[in-house]
């Protein structure tokens, strides 16, 4: 095969290409270049890689230690991130005192390990470390059976049904007001993060949970009564709410206590908390 410059050009384009190739010279051998590069090579470390880049000389032991350190740092970072995420999800700040923590966690539906007071529906065992909480509360349901409340929901009284909806809104705001200053957070804060324009009202379960916590752990029956105002009198948690209200009124010395107890016994004569309500009614009536 002949070279292009030795071939006959069939056209002008090939002639131009040949002209370019004729003017270009091959790379000349340069002794100066050879010596220059040789000096640079001699100056470079024998086992070194690229110039100026230090080469790692450690053995496998050092590499294993490095990998272990990196893995440890990764695990620690993951644990810290997980703890932060959990705290953020439950609305608990690490800097808050324990009481504040439990109060801020109160309106959440999820049962918390720090919260010995159970929700009427979401039961959990009281903490054995606290003697006062070890004693079973009479308003605690023995087992969560949401279907038991359905019959009472199906036959609401005529005056309770229309009042329920507006009362829930008022009490929801009251709950937000009540819980807000204590923790710096509101029950609607988590919802406000995603939809800041429409703050979420606490659900009935959250209100019941918060009321139970306020009543039994914080010893604050007034706040419990205030929170219970938001629970519908004809909803799925009517029985629990009424029982909690009776207990709260009894502890607060509210004169409405006996009336509430009688209402409970009228509507739930064989209810789960009937015996306790009767005891409360007997205790409040004069001997």
């Amino acid at each position: 095969m002949k070279r292009l410059i030795d071939s006959e050009a069939p056209d002008v384009a090939t002639e131009r290409a040949q002209e370019v190739l004729r003017r270009v010279r091959p790379l000349a051998a340069s002794e100066a270049r050879l010596q220059r590069v040789r000096r640079a090579l001699d100056a470079a470390p024998v086992s070194g890689g690229r110039r100026g880049v230090p080469r790692f000389r450690g053995g496998w032991g050092a590499r294993a230690v490095g990998i272990a350190i990196l893995a440890g740092v990764g695990v620690a970072a993951a644990a810290a991130g997980s703890a932060w995420w959990t705290a953020t999800e439950h609305g608990v700040d690490a800097g808050e005192p324990p009481s504040e923590r439990s109060r801020s966690a109160a309106p959440r539906v999820e049962p918390s390990a720090h919260d010995p007071a159970p929700s009427p529906r979401l039961e959990s065992k009281p903490s054995p470390s606290d003697p006062s909480e070890r004693e079973p509360s009479w308003t605690e349901p023995s087992e969560a059976q949401p279907s038991e409340a359905q019959p009472s929901e199906a036959q609401p009284s005529g005056d309770n049904a229309p009042k329920a909806a507006p009362r829930a809104n008022v009490a929801g705001e009251a709950a937000a007001r009540t819980l807000g200053p204590a923790t710096g957070r509101t029950p609607t804060e988590r919802g406000a993060r995603t939809t800041p324009s429409t703050p979420r009202q606490p659900t009935e379960v959250e209100l019941l949970h918060a009321a139970a916590t306020a009543l039994r752990r914080d010893r604050d029956p007034q706040r419990a009564l205030q929170l219970l105002e938001g629970v519908s009198g004809s909803g799925a948690f009517e029985e629990e709410a009424l029982a909690l209200r009776v207990e709260a009124a009894a502890r607060a010395g509210d004169p409405r206590g006996p009336q509430l107890a009688r209402t409970y016994l009228t509507r739930f004569p064989a209810g789960r908390y009937a015996e306790r309500v009767r005891e409360s009614l007997r205790a409040s009536s004069p001997p």
Partner: protein, 206 residues
């Protein structure tokens, strides 16, 4: 004439004069692990030409040759002794490839698109020097537009005067494959030169 120094006479020699000779390092591959000093002194200029064939700018040939021989010095003990030129050729190829990858990054921070070697002063007649620089620039741009395999085969055959057999030995491919690459590279080259030297603001007379 030895293939280790084909350009020392300053001009291009046709292939028959540089064909496989007994003293030619490309024709008689070393057996066993060779000495680094001998390898360096024998193949340094070859490596520089290969680096040019891989598209490296003239101004960076020294650095890349040094990088290539750093690798050679580190790995010479592991060489199987089969085809020393081919082994060196592949090391130079990878070095040039790495350099191109880094050059892409360097160009992000560089304003100048002009290669420094194109600005070097030539010897002799200024007009001839200017024409040669223009021709080198056209050649460089045409080579940049070729595929790496065609570019290497074309440059080594047409500019450096290697034979097809020598290129086949370096590339470790059949000779006919080399000729096929050269054939297609020629067509590309003619077309690219026609485009680059066309009249207009982008074109340059050779």
């Amino acid at each position: 004439m030895s293939l280790t120094d084909p350009g020392s006479e300053g001009g291009r020699e046709p292939s028959p004069g540089r064909a496989l000779e007994e003293s030619d390092p490309l024709a008689s591959p070393a057996r066993g692990a060779p000495d680094f000093d001998h390898t360096y002194s024998t193949y340094f200029h070859q490596v520089c030409r290969w680096l040019r064939a891989f598209g490296c700018p003239m101004a960076e040939v020294d650095d890349l040759a040094q990088e290539t021989f750093l690798v050679v010095r580190r790995k010479l003990d592991d060489f199987d002794g089969q085809n020393l030129p081919g082994w060196l050729y592949r090391i130079a190829q990878r070095t040039a490839s790495d350099h191109r990858r880094r050059a892409w990054f360097r160009r992000l921070f560089s304003r100048s698109s002009e290669e420094p070697d194109s600005l070097s002063a030539g010897k002799g007649d200024p007009l001839q020097s200017l024409e040669r620089r223009r021709a080198e620039r056209v050649l460089q741009r045409a080579l940049e537009r070729m595929s790496p395999k065609r570019r290497a085969a074309f440059y080594l055959f047409e500019v450096e005067g290697y034979s097809g057999e020598e290129i086949a030995l370096l590339e470790d491919v059949p000779v006919n494959t080399v000729y096929t690459r050269i054939h297609h590279a020629r067509k590309d080259f003619v077309r690219f030169v026609a485009e680059l030297t066309a009249d207009g603001p982008q074109g340059e007379a050779p």
